[in-house]
Structures are given as C-alpha cells and as structure tokens.
Amino acid sequence: MAIKMHILVCGGTGCTASGSKEIIEELNKELTAHDLNDFAKVVVTGCFGFCERGPIVKIIPDNTFYTRVKPEDAKEIIEEHIIKGRKVQRLLYVAPDTNQSVSDSKHMEFYKKQVRIALRNCGFIDPENIDESIARDGYAALGKCLTEMTPEQVIDEIKKSGLRGRGGAGFPTGLKWEIASKSRVGEQKYVVCNADEGDPGAFMDRSLLEGDPHSILEAMAICGYCIGANHGLIYIRAEYPLAIHRLQVAIEQAEQYGLLGKDILGTGFDFTIELRYGAGAFVCGEETALIHSMEGKRGEPTFKPPFPAQSGYLEKPTNVNNVETYANIPVIINKGADWFNKIGTEKSKGTKVFALAGKINNVGLIEVPMGITLREIIYEIGGGIKGGKKFKAVQTGGPSGGCLTEKHLDTPIDYDSLVAAGSMMGSGGMIVMDEDDCMVAIAKFYLGFTVDESCGKCTPCRVGNKRLLEILTKITEGKGTMQDLEELKNLSNVIKDTALCGLGQTSPNPVLSTINNFWDEYVEHVTEKKCRAGQCKALKKYVIDPDKCKGCTACARACPVSAITGTVKNPHVIDQDKCIKCGTCYEKCKFGAISIK
C-alpha cells in the first residue's frame, strides 16, 4: 500500500518546547498499533508560523489544521481522522469573530493576507530530508544558474528583482554581489551567511534555517558562482542547537547528492560550506564584527571602507548576506525577476518576514508583502490586542529601531517609510505594546540591552549609552528634571553622529522615537512624578481608602517595612516615605480598599 496520508507536525523551537516531540512519539505509536505505517506517515516539519496556537498538527491531503495538540490527542487523531475520516472538531481553530471552527489554514485570518516566499517550504517539508526539498524545486535554481546563465546574467536578474538586504539596512543585494564579483578577480573569495540573529524578540532566521535549510545552502552556492567564490561560511548563534543540527544534516545530504562539493552537477563548479558558531554577542550581527568573530577574535567592528567586498574574511573579498535574503534567491531565479518585482512597493520589492510578538492575540511568524499596513498586520493577521486592551505602540527594528504609534497604523510598510517614521525595518522583530506598557521603561529596557552588548571599542557607544541609561533610570525613579530630557535628546544625537558602527549609531533610536511619539509621558514622569502605565515601581503610590478599610490589620501585619499604621477596626494609613512599593498590602487586602495611584 502506498502512503496516502501525511501527518505534519511542527518541529520548530516553539512547538518543540510545548511538547511536539511527545506528540510525534504518540502518533507513531498509534500508527503502529493500528498497523497503518504503510498508509499514513508522520513528518516533522519546520515552523508553521502560528506559534500562538502551537503545537500544530496538519493532515495532508485534506489540509486539516489542528491547534494546541497534546500527546494524549494522538489516539483520537489516528482513530477518528486517519481511520474513519472524521475531523477531530475540538482541535480545530475557532475564529474569534464568527465563533466558527476553521479547518483549512488558508481560510484563517492569520494566513489570508500572508504571501509566503521565503517561508515557502516551512511547515511543508521535512527539513532533514533533501528529497522533499528537491520535490519542491530545491536546487533547481542552482542547476539553472550553472547550466543556462552566466554569473553576470544571474546578478542582473537579482538586480532587476529589486531585492534588498533583509538583515536591516536594506542595501540592494544584486549591487552587493556585483561589487564582490568585480573585486580582486581571480583571488580566493568567500560567501558568508549571517545567521547571528541577536535581536531580542526575533526568530525569523532561526525558523527559516530550521524549516528549510537547503534553500539557504542553494542560494549561497549561487552567490559563490556569481562572485567567484568556492567556499561559504554560515555564522550561526550557538543558542540555536536545532538550527545547527538541521544545517549539519542538510550540508551532509547535499554533499552526498553532489549538490555541494566538487564539480557540482558536472559543471566544474566547486562549492563547500562550513559552520562557524557565534558565542552570544549582539554586535556580531554587524558584518565587520562578524568577520572578526569568524576569524576567532573578539567581535569588534572596524571602520568601513574597506568594505568586506574589498577585504573581508582573512582579508579576502567577502560577500555577507542575511539568511532571509538568501532564502529569496532561488525563487527569484526560478520564477524570474519580473514575477518578484511585481510584489511590494516601488522601492521595496517582495515580502518581509516578521516575528509578531508581545501583547497581541496571534503571536507568530508571518510573511507579508511590502506595502501592507500595520493595521492589517495587527488587527487582521494578529487578531488585535490581547485582552481587549488599547493599542499603544509597535516596536520594529529591535534595539536599533523605534516605536510606531496609532498615527502610523495606516502607513504602508517598507524600508523607506519606516525610516521616515523614525524606526527601521531591522531584521523583522515586531513587538506590540498596549496601554500597560510604559514607554520610558521600554526605552530604558533597550538601552540596558545596548549597554550590555556594546563592545566598548568607541567612546560614544561605550560611555554615551551608559549616560543615556543613567538618565532614563533617574526619570523612571521620579528623580528626573526637564534639563535631563534635553540632555537625552542632545546626547542621543551626538551618539548617532559619532559612533563607530551600526550598533552604536542606531542605539539611541529607541530613546529618540519614544521622545518624539510619547513626549507627554516623559514630561509626566518628570513634572508630576507619575507613570500612567503603572510600570515604574518608584512612581507607584499605594493608598488606603478610609471608607473601604475595615481595620482588619492584615495589611499592616504583612508590610515588610512597617509602613502601615492604624488600630483595629479603624482605617489604616500608609506612610509614603517608608513604603517600598512592594505591593504586598495590595494583594493582602480582602476589601479592595487599597488602590495604586
């Protein structure tokens, strides 16, 4: 009997953390118990994207999409769905607006507006089986390039597609390749894939590598063919063990198939790929720092020029692109630049993958065409704000980016519009915040990150960011002055203008964008010593309502610093000078007499 049904189970990091391994074991056990191993097969895939509803199990061919599956559901899935052909209703996704269950993911709001180019294979194929990749056009583009196109033609095609670097800055990819191809012709050159995804709250690259590693290998080989390099290196975070494992498996399989190594497809073109591990340094996402780290040195950036295309890894011409950029290459070659450049906006072509997280109903990995609005992302794909709270801001671009607000909700998103709005595309982290988030505290959070991650080489970044953090801390503790706010602005601009690398030059962005968009909140912290979101501990004030207080003494007994006084059956009072705002009294009070002001 031939395999008639496939049971796809998400093996991404998120779903694995919530038990997909156990689900796979149980499904296989049930298949064996019912002697169905010749009829149905369990396939471990990469990320489906809908992490909020994980672990995800999808049944092919009827495209039934089960959500929040538990190991104990395996029996019912096999006995009901696989054997009897009846869907397990209770595991289907229920659309919150209609209250109807939706069985096929393409009818879900979360997927309707998505266009999956980079993520085309994630959630469809077993990433540890090269045959499944090949069945979906894997390595077809490499074959086409090597046998039908000259390197110049390939570069022209990429240029015509309008593809820009997905790592953050958006430099045109075709132009980058052209520069590298013309640099020091005939010498040893290198192709590098930047998989050092250090941006907190972003997991695009990891999901791509876990779900479709062959696309990245294929694109790197195409790049090598174009620029005249026969060796590639992938610089990957050591914190991504699953992605590392899948890359190792993929490289080995591609070598066995003759798709990497010597004389690829009999064309005489050689290309090998090795892995280099990062060790937890955000600055290594910057290409010169990354190259130093690959050489076994401290990951400190250096001045550009010389650009890596002139002198990079081991002082040889080197082309560095981000994972998502590479993931687009094979599709552009297969479907043509004219197909690709019809998607997106005038200056930003194609799609962008975002990691949508924070205070939003549908947390997950999404891929949308450039030019989509934030409103569509947040309210349609994302399903709106969690708990019906009020939207406040969305942060894009991580520690280098900024906050966008209500007034930006209808701006079409592309590289240039985000910069104009005071943020940036960045690698694709998108964190949604609601009314309970304090924007001064958010700026402080990002600065804390930058101060930790600054390599210390240049003074503006090493010292300047520390001073910014001190001022922000002062403000959140209620000790700030209006003069401090001016200092924040001035110092931020100085750091932007004078820091050595991209990390330092963009590090004040979270401060500047929150100042621009939430100036009132900063002023409130300074003049009224008030935090409207109630996040800044020092500015919280616990007050007892004498009308509601029964004088039970529970709060006074619980207070660790004896700040509450009063006698039995009489209203109590909190001494604000002694109070350490721990909130214990608030939790102890059974009569709701204590409020936070």
Binding site: G278, A279, M433
Partner: protein, 161 residues
Amino acid sequence: MCGSKVNISEANYLKIKEICASFNNNPGDLINVLHKTQDHFGYLPVEVQKVVAECLGIPATRVYGVVSFYSFFTMKPKGKYAISVCLGTACYVKGGEKILDALKSELKISEGEVTPDGKFSIDVLRCVGACGLAPVMTINGKTYGRLVPEDVKGILAEYAD
C-alpha cells in the same frame, strides 16, 4: 567546586589537547575550540584557557580576551540545574522580570550566582526564540513557557532530589 581554580590533571590536559588537535590547532577556530572545551568542563577557568593558548600557539591574553568578550562563555561553574530566564523584548513586555524576581526570592540568589549547595544557578538571556510562549525560562535546556510568578515554586520542586 569552589571558585574558578581547577588543577589540570594529566587527563584534562590531554582532553584539551585532543579538542585543539581536532581543529588542527588552528587559532582561527578558537571560538569553536572554546565551545567544545566548555561543553566538556562546564566552564572555562584560567588554567584551561592557558592550555588552549599553548596548544593553538597564541598568547593566553588573546584567549582570555575572547572568553571575556562573549556572553556564552563563562569562567565560573554553573549550578547542577542551570536556570536561564528570557528577558528578550517579547518576554519583557509579558512580565519576564516578575519571573526572575520570583526565582531570586525563592532561591535567595541573584542573577549570575549559584546556590551555596551548587544545585541551582540563575542567568538572564536574550531571546530563546519561543516568543509565542512568552514569558519563558529554561532549566538545563528544557523550556517552560506562559509562566506566571506562582509557577516558579512548583517547577523548582520538580528538581528536588
């Protein structure tokens, strides 16, 4: 285990030599060598760094410079159960700090410290990429998601041995 002082035994010395040799004693592979070495010893005390330097033929200062630069490398041993609390942005806005506070008060140690019995250590990390489960923490690589501070006690109890 106390402090970062270990005496390099003959066996350990040979182990480091073997790791370095597996990378052809190439100084360009220093970071890969250190990953392997830390996997074996659990941390990278100065004595170990000196042997690595000797094998790769580079100054010990360069090895120290790299070890101290990258947050993944540690010169202090971690607890038997190493707890890492994610404070990436997604976890931060969903209350990751409260999880950290709960752990600190439960174990009576700060981040970067180990309990006196060597059982638990607490560290902070930036994003494990399981943002859909925020806030999360990991214990020896096992991920716990959608946490509230009240969960901490029960989870620690799983490690009572």
